[in-house]
């Protein structure tokens, strides 16, 4: 770590490029993700947001630099990156439908367990799991199979799974897409509750949601970073307005 590291995590991305057979889905992205901030990553469809997260979490190969706690993420396997404390959700919820909410959380909490202890059956619910249940507001549904959860609840469960695996960096890919406005508010409040000691990157389309909760916004377009700043700065940026064309009015409308 550099000398400027003061007990605060940050993820530093430099010149990150993802090349799909000549097509650069991500093209020389520089990004610094700091602890304690809700960092929004926005941009039109195909801007490269998901691919950027894929590269940082070991799903696709990228070139450039991406360092966290002195490790270069680009050379690491997906599960090693998770063990380092970097977690993600997917655009479509991927909870284990037939397992109960508690079992989903328990399986996610298991990565820090010693391998041989996994040979035992679960006797009681671990404390971290109980805490996460409260935090994500699913305590009442703890014993229900995850498959019966509503879309929004599944996304919260995914966030809970990141909590129990103690992810210090969370990439949430379109978590609130398809949620009701009430669910969005609850999600925003949830993220604000847990962001203090971690870095949360929210990929989002919804401008309203962004305006309400973003501490900092990065706008991507065509694989590159178009602009970065506060919500107000982003909304005032003519380039951003241009990219959003149809939605330009929406972006510039004051909250």
């Amino acid at each position: 770590m550099t000398a400027s590291f003061r007990g605060e995590d940050y993820l530093e991305v430099g010149g990150l490029t993802v090349d799909f057979d000549g097509f650069k889905a991500v093209d020389g992205v520089d990004l610094t993700l700091l602890q304690g901030r809700l960092h929004f990553l926005i941009g039109p469809n195909g801007a490269g947001k998901t691919t950027l997260v894929d590269a940082l979490t070991g799903l696709v190969n990228g070139t450039g630099r991406a360092s966290f706690r002195g490790h270069d993420l680009l050379g690491m396997k997906a599960h090693e990156i998770v063990r380092l404390g970097i977690g993600r959700t997917f655009q479509t919820a991927t909870v284990f439908d037939q397992l109960s909410v508690v079992q989903n959380l328990d399986i996610a909490a298991g990565l820090h367990r010693k391998a041989w202890t996994r040979m035992r059956a679960r006797r009681r619910v671990p404390e971290v799991v109980e805490e996460a249940l409260e935090t994500i507001g699913l305590a009442a549904l703890a014993e229900r199979p995850a498959g019966i959860l509503a879309h929004g609840q599944k996304q919260w469960l995914e966030v809970g799974m990141l909590l129990v695996q103690d992810a210090k960096v969370m990439f949430l890919d379109e978590t609130v897409a398809g949620m009701s406005s009430e669910e969005r508010e609850q999600t925003g409040a949830l993220l604000q509750r847990i962001v203090a000691d971690r870095t949360i990157v929210v990929i989002e389309h919804d401008m309203e949601f962004m305006r309400s909760y973003a501490d900092i916004v990065t706008v991507m377009h065509g694989g590159t970073v178009l602009a970065e700043g506060s919500v107000a700065e982003i909304q005032a940026d003519p380039q951003v307005q241009e990219v959003y064309l149809g939605t330009a009015t929406e972006v510039s409308v004051d909250a």
Binding site: H79, T94, V95, Q98, L99, Q103, G110, A142, P145
Partner: protein, 384 residues
């Protein structure tokens, strides 16, 4: 895409969150499968020895040795999703290790096995020597398959080989193994294999009491392995294994290396097959390439498919049933049995992919369902 984990042993049941979890009902749910194992144990260890002739008992012992391999296949294939088509190799490692020891016992101290005098120049390869020792042989029966399956599993699983490619690789391994055995007549007895044993750890193999004990050891090992798999299935590891089978990439993003999870199941299955082979040799009096080749490996799988690969008792019961069927039908229709078997395999895979163990659920499915769709018992969910 929402992933499903179909059959963690107690899937719809709950972990012990509250005191209610210690109620008899909850206990039955979590330990009920033990009762089924106990019932099988009574049948195999109490009823059978008191009711069957020593000859029939020997046959049942042979089926139990196949069932040992089948229990491991149930774990690797049913729970882990690895279609292991070459378990004959591990069956053979145990079988040949035990057979070598018995050949050396029969030859006597300092002497070499009879077939080496017949086919060779009466010199014994150096690697035979340690098998004079009983304890070493027992150690090898566990360590050899563990080592081989580790090396092979590591190489294959770490590369992410799965599905049909994995199945073909394991099958190829069985072909290569049998070919090697046939080609090394001076060292392994070649096509004829190893036979004409006289004693088993000093016990006269022609003594009916010893034959009965051989059966009891085999059936006992089968029960032990079933309890081991029961514990696997109910453990956190068991949940992970099923999760890996159903959504390998998702598990990776929980911070686990799926290859390691599968490797444990693959190695366990290999050791169980080896123990089965080690009991097969003294029970049947011979172990030869035809007992461990690709065809034999597929026969081991057939019983598992028939019984229900993801259920606890299905693989063992299926293997014993296929063994019985083979004896009964092959006596009457020696040339056609293999077609019966192939046909059975196809029918089960097509019509009843969950095996016999899923019949109950199928019947239940035909009745109007009251439960929400998300809870529908899937083919693999039925756990004996």
């Amino acid at each position: 895409m929402t992933t499903t984990v179909a059959d963690v042993n107690d899937a719809p049941s709950r972990p012990a969150r509250t005191a209610a979890a210690f109620s008899p009902a909850a206990l039955l749910r979590s330990h009920g499968s033990l009762l089924l194992i106990a019932a099988l144990a009574v049948m195999l260890l109490v009823w059978a020895p008191n009711s069957l002739s020593v000859f029939r008992l020997g046959n049942l012992g042979k089926y139990c040795s196949w069932a040992l391999a089948a229990v491991g296949i149930g774990l690797a294939w049913g729970r882990g999703g690895m279609l292991v088509l070459g378990q004959g190799v591990f069956f053979g490692l145990g079988g040949y290790a035990m057979a070598m020891h018995m050949k050396l016992e029969a030859a006597g101290p300092g002497r070499v096995p009879d077939f080496m005098e017949l086919y060779g120049d009466s010199t014994m390869p150096l690697w035979w020597e340690p098998f004079r020792s009983g304890p070493f042989t027992l150690f090898a029966i566990v360590a050899l398959p563990a080592l081989v399956s580790f090396v092979m599993g590591y190489a294959v699983l770490k590369r992410g080989v799965k599905g049909a490619y994995f199945a073909i690789l394991t099958q190829a391994m069985a072909v290569a193994f049998a070919t090697l055995l046939v080609a090394t007549i001076k060292q392994t007895g070649g096509f004829n294999g190893l036979n004409t044993f006289t004693t088993f750890f000093g016990q006269n193999l022609y003594d009916p009491a010893v034959q009965k004990n051989l059966y009891l050891i085999t059936a006992g090992m089968l029960i032990v392995c079933l309890v081991v798999v029961w514990q696997f299935n109910r453990s956190r590891y068991g949940e992970l294994l099923v999760a890996t089978r159903d959504a390998e990439e998702r598990v990776r993003f929980l911070g686990y290396d799926p290859a390691n999870i599968k490797l444990v199941a693959f190695m366990t299955a290999a050791v169980m097959a080896s123990i089965g082979g080690a009991m097969f040799a003294p029970l049947v009096g011979i172990i030869s390439p035809s007992d461990v080749n690709a065809t034999a490996s597929i026969m081991m799988i057939a019983g598992v498919a028939l019984g229900g690969r993801a259920s606890l008792l299905g693989p063992a019961v299926g293997a014993i049933a296929v063994g019985f069927g083979q004896s009964a039908l092959s006596e009457r229709f020696p040339t056609n049995w293999v077609y019966f078997q192939g046909g059975l395999f196809v029918v089960v895979i097509l019509l009843l992919p969950g095996g016999i163990a899923s019949v109950g659920a199928k019947v239940r499915d035909l009745r109007p369902r009251r439960r929400p769709a998300a809870l529908t018992v899937t083919e693999a969910e039925v756990v004996a």
